[in-house]
């Protein structure tokens, strides 16, 4: 289902709309209400070139309070975070930040994380970093480790238990 289909359905949800706007205000100065639907954001959108993301329609959904539609749509997970929409919007609206807020709400409402996000989060919890240190292959097909290359040991959290406890606490709280 595309966003266009979605805008023709559903009831506006004032509370959820206020929550996203609140969240955006806490994090930055941009307000979706100023969007005049010029679609300049969509014209440069990297994800639009390859997928179906149309950032001006994301803003329209928020303005109209169609939050369930926004949060449940898979298309919000296709943003490439190129930030062209935020950079170029003549009205200082930031569709990318609306997308981040919508994805956060989707996670908070218990929607399953797509793709590799769960693995990434687990890795941060376990090691402090997105992934464990990798053995790499050279152009000549030899394998090399960090140590063999003479690089110093990785810097990682010294007290993993405390580090994990803080992250778990954040995951439980309302953002």
């Amino acid at each position: 289902m595309t966003i266009t289909d979605l805008t023709s359905m559903g009831e506006p949800q004032a509370d959820a709309r206020a929550e996203i706007n609140d969240r955006l205000k806490r994090l930055q100065d941009h307000a979706s209400d100023y969007c005049y639907q010029c679609a300049k954001c969509t014209s440069g959108c990297e994800a639009h070139k390859l997928l179906e993301l149309e950032p001006h329609k994301i803003v329209a959904l928020l303005k109209r309070g169609l939050i369930t539609e926004l949060v449940n749509s898979d298309v919000i997970w296709t943003c490439m975070t190129c930030m062209k929409c935020r950079e170029r919007c003549p009205q200082q609206v930031a569709p990318i930040e609306i997308l981040f807020a919508a994805k956060n709400l989707a996670v908070q409402s218990g929607k399953e994380l797509p793709g590799k996000y769960t693995a990434m989060l687990q890795s941060i919890l376990g090691t402090g970093l997105l992934q464990e240190v990798q053995t790499v292959t050279t152009a000549a097909n030899a394998t090399m480790t960090r140590d063999q290359l003479g690089l110093p040991p990785l810097s990682v959290p010294s007290d993993v238990a405390k580090f994990q406890a803080s992250i778990m606490a954040i995951a439980m709280q309302k953002p």
Binding site: L50, T78, F100, G115, A139, R146, S155, F163, A169
Partner: protein, 294 residues
């Protein structure tokens, strides 16, 4: 030349697999008077988790900044994504006392405190603004003569401008200026210059991510460039390590040397090629004909 001390913020991707970036910046920057200090206890900057939980991103960034504050050192952040995350966190916490308090409350568990005084630099502004082209020029012993290079800036190094990026959002030229100082002949404009490498889609849509990479590289190859210079471990992973696969998505045989700016800097400063990680580039870097000495 007096030396300047910087704490290195390695991030995740560079120290766990993009070793050519780390090797080359460690080998070349000290020659320009930059002393890199390794800090213990660092973690992910949190940016890759922004889609999942933005508070987590703020917490992780503030946590790393607090570790730098303890040492009273500025942070050198070679990954543009980390650089953006740390910078944005500073700005958000400056404007938002309630969030600042909440984050500091959480940091107490690890005995940390964030105030937001850490200065940040990325490779681009460290070379262009902090060190400066004059100093770099004085140290070039092995100029990159005849190399027609294209610069891929990626997204996070230049956008959004309001979040203090190291170069201009619509017409970045600092890396080209650095390359000219190193003796190369950069191609300063091309239509796809501001386009994304595709990496942010890796966790969710890996095939589409590669298609993005393939499209951009194909366009660059048609320009007749000798090679592509990048300044981001994520971009490099796509353009270099995944180049062959990216070519398949656009049915093109891609054959473009991809190098980190710091690798070329090292060559031009006369650092032995062995120390700059060139064996780790999977793209055909031999085509650049780089030699360790003139």
């Amino acid at each position: 030349m007096s030396s300047q001390r910087y704490a290195l913020f390695p991030g995740c991707l560079m120290p766990t697999e993009q070793y050519a970036y780390e090797l080359s910046l460690r080998a070349s920057l000290p020659l320009l008077g930059i002393d890199l200090v390794d800090l213990p206890g660092l973690s992910c900057c949190g940016e890759p988790m922004k889609s999942v939980n933005q508070t987590l991103t703020l917490y992780l960034s503030a946590r790393n900044l607090a570790l730098a504050e303890q040492q009273g050192l500025p942070f050198y952040v070679p990954c543009p994504q980390c650089h953006l995350s740390l910078h944005e966190t500073n700005l958000i916490l400056q404007k938002n006392p309630a969030m600042l308090e909440r984050i500091n409350e959480m940091l107490k568990a690890e005995g940390l405190h964030y105030t937001g005084t850490t200065r940040l630099v990325h490779t681009i502004d460290l070379l262009y603004d902090t060190i400066g082209l004059d100093i770099i020029k004085k140290h070039v012993t092995n100029p990159l003569t005849g190399m027609k290079l294209v610069v891929h800036y990626g997204c996070h190094a230049i956008r959004p401008k309001e979040l203090g990026r190291p170069d201009d959002s619509e017409n970045p030229q600092k890396v080209e200026a650095i390359l000219k100082t190193l003796g190369a002949e950069p191609i300063t404009h091309y239509p796809q210059k501001l386009d994304c490498c595709g990496a942010p889609l890796l966790p969710n849509k890996p095939e589409t991510a590669l298609a993005k990479t393939g499209q951009k590289l194909q366009a660059i190859q048609e320009l007749g460039a000798s090679g592509v210079v990048d300044v981001c471990p994520w971009c490099h992973k796509m353009l270099d390590s995944r180049q062959t696969k990216a070519g398949e998505t656009v049915a093109a045989k891609l054959d473009l040397p991809i190098v980190y700016l710091t690798q070329l800097l090292g060559v031009a400063l006369g650092v032995d090629k062995e120390k700059l990680g060139f064996t780790l580039n999977l793209s055909p870097v031999h085509k650049l004909g780089l030699r360790s000495q003139p």
